[in-house]
């Protein structure tokens, strides 16, 4: 069960430590069911922290998003730890970052929040539109209770949870320094039904499906920027020489961009679904990522973001890897 007091106390204690730079958690947003990442630097700021079905953001992104600005000569970089609140999926991002040496274990304090599933904001806003003031929600016996200006509304999880949560295999953080409350039961067993469904269509239908989606892409790069695994200092897809993908917006470049993005995440995507959540034009990016996750799992029995000691998929092979596709 979510224990907000425990969470706040832990946060206060954590940020009081000398070796902690700040703690990243969630706080209520400016309107409706929005939630915003909350950077806690002083103990009193911990008061605003929340943990609820609205806490969709995967904060692990911020571990690798920090800009490393040039330091004046002689000045030492702030090497204190960052404390991070994580749900199950978020924790896998941290583990995968460790596998890829994107972060150092000693530079992060992982505070685990076992999670009963977060909402799909689009579904919720459809049910409860036009809320200019902030509104909250909580878990309650398999349902989600929304606190609305005209009283509480209880909705079955199935109606409002994000798709990734309905088939979640890892609701509990897989690696923590502190687990805030008891673990929750694993909900789903992911069979990748959504992927199988699309695979069953004809190539022509699949092309049309994706053409429709990709042509709406505005190349805002939010999918890439929000991704906790996309942390190259200089993304190849931004580069002009060589220009792998042109900046121009058309179906060819957009498709190439999305293929490259998805491919670069093969064996690395931990399926937090952030890319799809943030896409302003609703491209079902998880359908791309999960296709590769499915193949990686089936072909190479590999699931990213679980074992910090494991070798990255993209830099390993087995001599007996399947090769039925080779002429």
């Amino acid at each position: 069960m979510v224990d907000l007091e425990k969470l706040k106390t832990a946060a206060r204690e954590t940020v009081s430590r000398d070796d902690v730079k700040y703690l990243i958690g969630w706080r209520q947003g400016t309107y409706g069911f929005r939630v915003s990442p909350h950077f806690v630097k002083e103990p009193e700021e911990a008061e605003k922290l929340i943990f609820s079905p609205l806490c969709t953001n995967n904060l692990a992104t911020y571990l690798v998003l920090t800009e490393r600005l040039p330091l004046p000569r002689g000045e030492q970089p702030d090497s204190r730890k960052v404390a991070l609140m994580v749900k199950g999926c978020d924790s896998r991002a941290v583990v995968q970052q460790l596998i890829e040496q994107g972060i150092k274990r000693e530079s992060v304090l992982i505070i685990g929040c076992p999670c009963e599933g977060v909402i799909d904001l689009k579904k919720v806003e459809e049910k409860f539109p036009h809320l200019p003031g902030p509104a909250q929600a909580r878990w309650s016996n398999g349902n989600i209770v929304f606190h609305l200006p005209d009283g509480d509304k209880e909705v079955p999880k199935g109606e409002v949870l994000a798709a990734k949560c309905l088939s979640c295999r890892y609701p509990n953080p897989v690696m923590t320094d502190l687990m805030l409350w008891e673990e929750v039961q694993t909900r789903g067993n992911d069979e990748y039904d959504d992927i199988t469904e699309l695979e069953a269509k004809s190539p022509q239908e699949r092309w049309l499906f994706w053409e429709d989606k990709f042509s709406s892409c505005i190349r805002c790069y939010s999918c890439r920027n929000v991704c906790p695994m996309c942390y190259c200092e200089d993304c190849v897809l931004d580069r002009l020489n060589p220009a792998w993908v042109f900046r121009s917006n058309n179906i060819s470049e957009n498709t190439a961009f999305h293929l490259a993005r998805a491919f670069h995440l093969a064996g690395r995507c931990i399926e937090c679904g952030e890319c799809e959540r943030v896409c302003p034009v609703g491209i079902p990016l998880m359908k791309l990522n999960r296709k590769l996750a499915k193949e990686v799992k089936e072909k190479y029995e590999y699931i990213p973001g679980l074992d910090p000691e494991s070798k990255p998929l993209q830099s390993s092979y087995r001599p007996d890897d399947k090769e039925d596709f080779i002429l």
């Binding site: 400016t30 915003s36 998003l65 917006n249």
Partner: protein, 339 residues
């Protein structure tokens, strides 16, 4: 100018005639998003929206446009063909105001032929905004649900019919081309439209008093608020690409083999490459400088150069920001800090 009434049973004919005269753009679903696209045989206009996902600037100032084509080792270049007359139907007043704001930029010190020609060739038919969205705040920045600035004609949905109010000669021409479909508008019609838009304005729940903000902003250059608000910024281009007034572009040469084209495409001040110098130096090295620039550009620099705030209160940046960076929140903090 002129006011007319178009009965809804004639609406189909009206659109059909428009689409024969010019290339007609209406809001349509593309993927999961709504944007202005040319009417084709199977296309479905979608008018039940507070606003399109992608603003109509995407037609007047396309995300990518070819400036000219060339071949390597050859100094000849070929310019793109002349554009065509088009008409956009269903433009919200805020987005039309945005075009008026962008106009001043593209005809500032040097005329931009690509934009201005296309603007000249385009007629904007607006639709009064009777169901404002959650984060709409046009009334705070000098607009309103029935503002006509930037439009050639405004339509208001009166239930059984549309009220047509022309704003420019281009709008006038449209009316003149379909006399058989229209009837005269009565004083009641005008009053009804007025009432509808006033009611809509009342329903706008969010807002800010922008008085003094342009003057206050320069004094807050080093204020910690920029860091606080941008801490969670992902540095993506949603707020700028989908802003109806953002107009920054980059020019790039795209080569394939020995052929190439020089083209321009939307750029975003939220990207780090935006200000990246060839030397590697970046005067806006982190997200907080970029966030500060975005707000300052809209609420201070543009005001200084063109006398108007470059924000029309459409709410897109608030609606679509993945991490809930809310410009109204920033502005109210600006007001607070300045005191």
């Amino acid at each position: 100018m002129d006011t007319k009434k178009l009965s809804k049973d004639k609406f189909g004919d009206f659109m059909a005639i428009l689409s024969r005269q010019k290339k007609l753009y209406v809001p349509q679903k593309e993927g999961e998003s709504l944007r202005f696209a040319p009417v084709t045989a199977g296309s479905q206009p979608d008018l039940a929206f507070p606003n399109t996902t992608v603003p109509p600037k995407s037609v007047l100032f396309p995300q990518t446009e070819t400036l000219y084509q060339f071949e390597q080792g050859n100094t000849d270049m070929s310019l793109p063909g002349e554009g065509e007359e088009r008409v956009l139907f269903g433009v919200r007043p805020c987005d039309a105001r945005a075009m008026a704001i962008v106009d001043s930029l593209f005809s500032w010190d040097v005329d931009d032929p690509y934009y201005l020609t296309r603007r000249e060739q385009t007629t904007l038919l607006g639709l009064s905004c009777l169901e404002p969205g959650t984060n709409c705040f046009c009334t705070s920045v000098g607009g309103g649900p029935a503002s006509t600035e930037g439009l050639d004609m405004l339509l208001t949905d009166l239930g059984e019919a549309f009220l047509l109010q022309t704003v420019t000669e281009k709008g006038e021409k449209i009316i003149q081309s379909v006399p058989e479909l229209l009837e005269e508008a009565t004083a009641e019609d005008l009053k009804a439209a007025e009432k509808l838009s006033q009611e809509a304005a009342v329903r706008i729940a969010r807002g800010i008093d922008t008085d003094g903000i342009p003057e206050k902003l320069p004094g807050l250059w080093e204020n910690p608020l920029w860091k606080d608000f941008s801490e969670s910024c992902l540095g993506c281009g949603i707020c700028t690409f989908l802003c109806p007034t953002c107009h920054c572009f980059d020019i790039q040469d795209e080569m394939e083999g020995f052929e190439g084209r020089r083209c321009r495409m939307w750029d975003s001040c939220m990207f780090s490459e935006y200000t990246l110098h060839a030397s590697g130096h970046n005067p806006r090295p982190s997200r907080h400088e970029r966030t500060r620039n975005r707000v300052n550009h809209k609420y201070s620099y543009f005001v200084k150069n063109f006398g108007t705030i470059a924000c029309v209160g459409c709410g897109r940046c608030i609606n679509l920001c993945p991490v809930n960076i809310d410009i109204l929140n920033i502005l109210s903090q600006v007001v607070k800090e300045a005191i």
